[in-house]
C-alpha cells in the first residue's frame, strides 16, 4: 500500500499540524503532546476522548460543540500516553470534572487510568465511560468486555450534549453510561488497512473472502465467508446484531452505517437501504440514520452497522446540535416526533 507520508515516525505529529492549519479558528493544540482542544471551552463538565490514531476522522475530527472538549491522540493503533491524556484533561478542565469517553481496549484503559491517577495529584476529578459496542468481540453477558468501534460516535454525541446542558459530572456520566449500554455494533471486513510505514498488511483475505466481526485494528472476527451480495451480507450482520443486543420490536433506534476506509459511500448507501428495510420489517422504529466513514482503519474495506437504542432522555440529547470539523449536526425539524 502506497502511503503519502514523509517519515512513518512523524505521521501523527505532521497530520496534527495539517489539521491545525485547516481548523485553527475553532481548535487549539495542547503544547508538547498530541492533544487537541476546543477554543470556546465552556464552564461545564469536560468531555475528553481519544485513542490510537489511524481511525480518522475519529478522534481528532470530533472536537467541538456538543462533542469532545479535547482528545488525546496516540500513534497509529496505539493508545495515547498517560501524560498526553493528563495534559489534555488539564487544558479542558473548568473545575467541574472530566469525563473520559473512549473505546474499551486494554492499552487505552491502562493509559487513561494512569492519567486519572496523575490527575488526582492535580485535584482534577475524572470519571470514565468505556464504549463497548462491538457485539462480535464478547457475548451479551459480558457486554462490558466488548471492544469499542463506530459506537464511539453515538456515545460521544450523548456525552457532549449532556455536558453542554450544564449537568454535573455524575449526571453526565450516568447518561453517557446509559448510551454506552444501549449501543451495539457489528462489522465486516473485505480488505485490510495498512499501518503507515509497514509494507505488509496485518492480515490477508482471499479474493472473494470477507470476515465477519473483524475489529477496527484488524482483530480477527467471528468467521470468514465468501463475498456475498450487499443485501445478504447486511441481513446476516443485522440479524446477528439484533440477536446480541436488547433491541425489541417497538423500540426506537438511531442507526449509523460506518465505512472502514475504502468502501465507497455508494456501497454504504446500498447497505443503509437494506438496514432500513430490515428494521421496518422487524417493527423497530428508525429515529435517525447516518451514513459516513467516521471510524476508519486506514484504507480497510468493509463497514459496520451501529444501533443506539433511544429513550426520551437520549433522544433529546441525540438531537442537540453539534459542531466539530468532521461532525456537524444541526437541529432537525421532526415531523410528528413520538
Amino acid at each position: 500500500m502506497k502511503k503519502i507520508i514523509n517519515n512513518p515516525g512523524h505521521v501523527v505529529q505532521e497530520a496534527i499540524e495539517g489539521y491545525m492549519c485547516a481548523f485553527k479558528d475553532s481548535i487549539t493544540k495542547v503544547e508538547n503532546v498530541n492533544g487537541i482542544i476546543r477554543k470556546d471551552l465552556k464552564e461545564k463538565v469536560a468531555i475528553v476522548s481519544g485513542g490510537g490514531s489511524g481511525h480518522e476522522p475519529l478522534f481528532l475530527g470530533f472536537v467541538g460543540e456538543g462533542l469532545a472538549d479535547g482528545v488525546a491522540i496516540g500513534n497509529v493503533f496505539a493508545a495515547p500516553t498517560p501524560n498526553t491524556v493528563q495534559h489534555v484533561a488539564k487544558a479542558v478542565n473548568r473545575g467541574k470534572g472530566v469525563l473520559f469517553v473512549y473505546g474499551n481496549y486494554a492499552g487505552d484503559v491502562l493509559n487513561f487510568d494512569m492519567a486519572s491517577e496523575l490527575l488526582e495529584f492535580d485535584d482534577i476529578q475524572t470519571k470514565t465511560v468505556l464504549v463497548t459496542d462491538d457485539v462480535a468481540s464478547a457475548p451479551a453477558e459480558r457486554k462490558g468486555d466488548r471492544r469499542g468501534i463506530a459506537g464511539d460516535v453515538f456515545v460521544l454525541k450523548i456525552a457532549g450534549a449532556a455536558s453542554e446542558k450544564g449537568w454535573s459530572l455524575d449526571e453526565v456520566t450516568r447518561v453517557t453510561q446509559k448510551a454506552a449500554d444501549q449501543t451495539f455494533s457489528i462489522g465486516v471486513a473485505t480488505a485490510p488497512g495498512t499501518i503507515p510505514g509497514e509494507t505488509e498488511p496485518p492480515f490477508v483475505l482471499g479474493d472473494d473472502e470477507i470476515e465477519f466481526g473483524m475489529g477496527i485494528h484488524g482483530e480477527p472476527g467471528l468467521k470468514r465467508t465468501k463475498l456475498m451480495s450487499a443485501d445478504e451480507l447486511t441481513d446476516e450482520l443485522a440479524e446477528k446484531l439484533l440477536e446480541e443486543s436488547n433491541i425489541q420490536p417497538g423500540d426506537e433506534v438511531a442507526v449509523y452505517v460506518n465505512g472502514l476506509g475504502s468502501t465507497t459511500l455508494l456501497e454504504l448507501l446500498i447497505v443503509n437501504r437494506r438496514v432500513a428495510q430490515l428494521l421496518n420489517k422487524k417493527k423497530i422504529d428508525i429515529y435517525d440514520m447516518d451514513v459516513n466513514s467516521y471510524c476508519t482503519t486506514q484504507e480497510m474495506g468493509g463497514f459496520s452497522i451501529t444501533l443506539l437504542k433511544l429513550d426520551v432522555e437520549l433522544k433529546e440529547l441525540y438531537d442537540a446540535p453539534a459542531s466539530a470539523p468532521y461532525y456537524k449536526k444541526t437541529q432537525k425539524i421532526r415531523e410528528g416526533v413520538k
Binding site: G9, G52, G74, N75, V76, F77, A78, A79, P80, T81, P82, N83, T84, Y105, A106, G107, L110, N111, D113, M114, D134, A136, S137, A138, D145, R147, I195, G197, E198, E200, P202, F203, G215, H217, G218, E219, P220
Partner: protein, 220 residues
C-alpha cells in the same frame, strides 16, 4: 574478574546493557510486528521500537550513578513515548520495581531479582492480568522466579540471566496454548491458540540480550 562471572555491574554498565537491549529489540521489530499481526493489531514492534529509541536518547543524554535512575529513565521513556498497552506495561517493568528502593550504585542478581519481582507485582496490579492470560506475564513471571532461585543459589548475574532466558522462552511457548484474556487478542477466543504472545516474545528478547551483553563484555 570478567563481567561474565562478576556478581555486579555499575550503573553506567547497566545503562550500556539497556542500550544494547534496545538495539536488539529494535532489530526484532519485523518479527514482533508479524507476531502481533497474527492475533493483535500489528503495532507491538513499532511501539517497542519507539520506546527503546526514546530510552536510548534519554540514556545517552545522561551519566548515571544509580541503577535506580537507569531503570527509571528506561521505564519513563517508554511510558511517555509509546502509548498502547505495552507503553504502560513495559514501562512498569522498569519503573515498577524501583519505587521506594534506596539508591543503588550497582546491580547484582539479588537486586535484579527483587526489582523485577516488584515490577511483576506492579504490572499485575495495573493490567489485572495473571499467568495464563496470554500476556507478557507468561514470560516475565518465570523469569522472575528463575532469577530469584538463582539469586538464592548465589549464581552470577550472567548465569541467572541464562537460566531466565530459558524460562522466558518456555513461557513464550506456553502462550501458544492460551486463550487471550487481555489486549487486542482477547476477542479471538480459541482462535488465538497456536499463536505466541507478542509481549511475551519481547520479554524473552530483553532477557536474552541482557545476557548477550554480559557475555559480550565477558569475552572482550
Amino acid at each position: 574478574m570478567s563481567i561474565e562471572t562478576a556478581n555486579s555491574i555499575t550503573a553506567s554498565q547497566v545503562k550500556d546493557m539497556f542500550l544494547y537491549v534496545g538495539e536488539k529489540v529494535i532489530e526484532s521489530k519485523p518479527l514482533l510486528t508479524k507476531i502481533d499481526s497474527a492475533i493483535g493489531d500489528g503495532d507491538h514492534g513499532i511501539g517497542m521500537s519507539v520506546g527503546f529509541t526514546k530510552a536510548a536518547e534519554n540514556l545517552k543524554a545522561n551519566e548515571f550513578t544509580t541503577v535506580n535512575d537507569v531503570f527509571k529513565t528506561v521505564g519513563m521513556s517508554m511510558i511517555s513515548s509509546m502509548g498502547g498497552a505495552s507503553g504502560v506495561i513495559f514501562g512498569t517493568m522498569f519503573v515498577g520495581g524501583i519505587k521506594g528502593l534506596e539508591p543503588k550504585t550497582s546491580l547484582d542478581l539479588q537486586l535484579l531479582a527483587s526489582i523485577y519481582d516488584k515490577a511483576l507485582e506492579a504490572i499485575k496490579l495495573r493490567g489485572k492480568a495473571d499467568l495464563g492470560d496470554k500476556t507478557m506475564i507468561d514470560a516475565f513471571q518465570p523469569v522472575v522466579e528463575t532469577l530469584k532461585v538463582c539469586a538464592n543459589k548465589n549464581e552470577s548475574l550472567v548465569e541467572g540471566l541464562k537460566q531466565a532466558e530459558i524460562a522466558a522462552l518456555q513461557g513464550v511457548e506456553n502462550t501458544k496454548d492460551y486463550v487471550a484474556k487481555f489486549g487486542r487478542a482477547k476477542s479471538l477466543g480459541e482462535r488465538a491458540i497456536g499463536h505466541q504472545d507478542a509481549g511475551a516474545t519481547t520479554v524473552s528478547i530483553i532477557i536474552k540480550s541482557m545476557k548477550e551483553w554480559l557475555e559480550g563484555q565477558g569475552n572482550e
